[in-house]
Symmetry: D2
Subunit: 353 residues, 4 copies
């Protein structure tokens, strides 16, 4: 959630998104941390670093584990991240061999960054679906109302007669552009993190590269170099959210302007009521889209500070990603969902006949 | 919460604050919306706008009400804000007289802004307590270690011999400065919002000013002019959070630097562990304080966009406050709490003897 | 200037302000650095730290000095700040006694921060004048058109009939609020910086406090504690600029909305032309005000990062102030100037008769 | 320049870049506006919209024109942008035929956006050169000191023994990553803007598409759809600057930490002096790089607000680009230049022998 007030539910689902939030839950994020650990154990076994039997016992322990927010949270309060507590819990009750088949050679950042990558891919796919839905809504309006007259407006002034198609095509293009970036985004963000304690994957020379390659393959990710302190792809993900939310915000701003009395270039089947003025029909979703787009845009200026990631691992820079990126994702998804609802309620675009 | 990942609890209480979050819950925020409605009804009765009997029935209905997240959230999805649904629920089953004794002459923004003011005052007091606790921890270290040698460092370089007092006094001053601002802050933010539908409190001429004055008095707030579209005090509250979080962030940054091997100007009784390097003692709280301070600082650049609040009420500008301010408050409180924990674990400040 | 493109002059004076920029020029800022050095020398003499004769020779050298951008810039490229080069130039050719009567006991930060304080006070006064001019323009419109009908609009929708006074009073209040803060702002920012090498003004015990007090008095500043690493007042200055620019931005946004065809609640005697559509009259100043307000608001999220000012002096944090604050001041002044020009061209506010 | 104080030269070239600034000067930017106009006139002639003779006379007038800051600035003060004044000046003294061969069918935004595109490509190339220089400096250090011992540090704590190669490779990767993005960036940003008055390039049906295609070809740009209100590529350019500046900022932060006494993992042949402590050697360039990276990162949160570009052309959103992007480019170039100077002065990386 973007804030405790939004998380309260008092403002409904205007500014948050349950589906995207669920991707960052203890269950979902924890499951991805466990998926990393299981892939790591399998890779250790396949590269001969641990015995098949020890790996089997370790995998059974991993399969039995259920992420426990209280235990992991307490671990984080002590260690900064939940991984030491998670690994200790996984190894609990195992003999030395199976215990050593868990996490050996990996570091907390490998687990969290890889779980984050898997989460962001899931988030990108959800947002991709919403992008498609909103694009579809725009296309539907284009088909229905594209030929209706609409005044082109520049610098807040009526400029020239045009048709609704001009406005609707301008809405469609950034949505399509963002959707077209999705494969490259998935590919850029979709790299395993497997650097070991200080990012020296291949040092001392040994099987570390082979382990990392198998973990990547197991999780459906690319390998690439260690990116412990190179946060370009994470900040790049934020940039994509900015573009998506901005595309929605432009639509919201336009709709709010079109809905003004005296302009009257859009009509709805519904709209928000007022506690003081029952006659009003507020385009509240349009305004929410603008607010969300401004919010996401501004967050990028905070997230990007994470690039100044000192030495081999910076807790201060890293945490900025956790503070901003999930909220940006939720806000972006909410802006798209609001957009689809808003356009779905449109009964006319363009000057009244 | 600042993000769904933080809200998950996986990262413990490092980046959020349950007490501050609770002030923005349906229960607490909803209770303050009801407190406004009750004060409004009483004011209507005292100014003779409604009969004592109608007010009594209305107040009974308000007293019976329990804020229902599902109902209010659904109302917000329709209306943008939960107030129309709340008012409808309060009036449910009442006769015309008692129903008219509820909310008449007020508008949604009056309810939400006033509830927000009451919430921010409660938040300020909690943060004030934490400021005092962190100041106390600094003073304690000053008393205990102030005379120990410590190298003054400027521009990341050893400059001159000094004592720990130099550093500790520099930590204390911005904390004290922020604490000293608290009364003025409470006074600036502590104004009722009571403008009516479009902010024309005194139009048509009549008892509106008297109603507003009584509501303010009832809620322990000042009156002042309508501030529907003047968000200076809200942005000013954010500024105070920035100063407080920044004071904590400076301490966190200094401690992280002091804890470096080779510098060794601070020692702790605990510290975070590592999943890969059990010998490490990470000052994770210090890094969290830096991250939180950067986060809060950056949010102010987003919150301040809310000043561009168009016409008599802007949903787009207003929502930016809800998206940012509660998260800023939580992050600030968390930074202070982390600071008190961190300094409480300090066993030495200054060069080892 | 806010950017090289704006500094080019291609966009006229819309987004910059020559008067405010001049306060940050080599001449003006350099003169204030010299004023600090002269006050320091006088204070050394008055407290008996140097002889009257040495001080006289030193003051003569300071009086002769003209800040040289090339020399000081080259010094900054070497030392980070221009002060070592400035001091070396002042001492050039002086005997040991007069040379020691210059800058002894002060540090670069004392000079730059104090010069910045004097500059910000001058900037505040210029902005105060522009605030008064814009407030006056609003008051003039209020007197002339306050009673004309104007539709109150909430959430981008026509709400209720009102008069222009409602809108104009809402413009006036944040302007007046910001003006009313000016004395407190001057008092908060108006403290000398005089901490010595590492901020230990009173250590070793000696005349440092007395020197600092006399420097403060000489420069018309308050004394207060050393604030080398406590940047609250500088960030507070930025906050004031945010409030001022936001007040202008709200007016700009409203005017742009009022000028729309179909709304027609404002008329101008001029307005921007179009290279493609000669019939258009764009309210370009109104849009510039919005852009400037968003710009200044966003900068505060960057400036506030300067609070995380590590150890006794942080070049990284400090420089953020130099990068942002002068541009914020110029943008704020430009927004006010644009506002006064815009409102001065208004020939009607409110619904056409 | 990023601010008037920086533009004063008092702080040398630490925070600005003359070469990049020059790309936004009246001469350079103005020449690109003229290049657009010339290409447009040629395209009108080639598509038969104007006669060869009229085009020839128009081209002669364009070739004679020298951008005049005073005239264009005054035009901007009236019209918001310098294009109407530029076009009027070009047409001055021409007969109706040649006058109509200038700018007909184009709009101000076509001129400014296309000139900006050409400018950003030039800027990207300059920054690309600096990226290469800084990468080269890192590679040089890698070859020279890569095998020296250096302690890997995570979360501000010594972690494990490693070699300088670990740190230097981590510096190299984001630089290489940003350089590798340059061709895609050039391709994404390198599209002509040619939409006509309201972005309806192909309406009324006619030769507009053919004109636009020839202008693009003439200027070495791609065609693509109109992007008057789709600012994704401009914001994407800002994102690239963020990545580049962040890569430099990470190096600066690391170097500042390595230069600490007690850590001593880097040595320089020079370094900044202190006015109070002549024994100090401040790594001032390292700190400047951090400040610049934080500045650029934060600007992206402001620039990205430009995505909410209402209707067919928003002066308010558009101007945010002019306010932020040139300053981001300069700051990024300065960070790279500082980095090359800093690393060029390194005489050792890694633990002293």
């Amino acid at each position: 959630m973007t804030s405790a007030l939004i998380a309260s539910g008092l403002f409904g689902r205007q500014f948050g998104d349950q589906d995207v939030a669920a991707e960052f839950s203890v269950e979902a994020f924890g499951a991805r941390m466990l998926a990393f650990e299981a892939a790591w154990t399998r890779a250790l076994a396949r590269t001969g670093a641990v015995s098949a039997g020890d790996a089997e016992a370790a995998l059974a322990a991993i399969a039995r584990a259920r992420p426990d927010a209280a235990l992991l949270g307490a671990g984080s309060d002590r260690d900064g991240v939940p991984v030491p507590a998670l690994v200790a819990a996984l190894r609990q009750g195992l003999g030395p061999g199976p215990a050593a088949a868990i996490h050996t050679g990996a570091t907390s950042q490998d687990v969290i960054d890889t779980a984050m990558v898997l989460t962001l891919i899931a988030v990108a796919d959800r947002i991709g679906e919403r992008l498609a839905a909103l694009s579809g809504a725009v296309a539907h309006l284009r088909a229905r109302f594209g030929d209706r007259p609409l005044t082109a407006r520049t610098r807040m002034q009526a400029a020239l007669p045009a048709t609704a198609a001009l406005r609707l095509d301008a809405w469609a293009r950034p949505l399509q552009g963002a959707a077209a970036r999705l494969p490259a985004l998935r590919s850029e963000i979709g790299r395993v993190q497997a650097g070991g304690a200080v990012g020296l994957r291949d040092q001392p020379t040994g099987p570390a590269e082979a382990v990392a390659a198998r973990v990547a393959e197991d999780l459906g990710l690319a390998l690439g170099p260690v990116w412990h302190s190179d946060r370009s792809s994470v900040v790049g993900f934020g940039h994509w959210l900015v573009l998506v939310a901005g595309a929605a915000g432009k639509i919201g701003q336009d709709v709010a302007l079109m809905a003004q009395q005296g302009v009257d270039e859009v009509a709805f089947s519904g709209g928000g009521g007022s506690s003081a003025m029952p006659h009003k029909q507020n385009p509240v979703a349009a305004e929410a889209m603008v607010a969300l787009a401004r919010y996401v845009a501004g967050q990028q200026g905070v997230l990007a500070q994470a690039l100044i990631h000192e030495q081999e691992r910076s807790g201060a820079a890293w945490a900025l990603e956790w503070l901003t990126l999930p909220a940006m994702a939720e806000a972006t998804a909410a802006a798209l969902a609001q957009g689809a609802r808003l356009l779905g309620s449109v009964t006319r675009i363009g000057t009244p006949a």
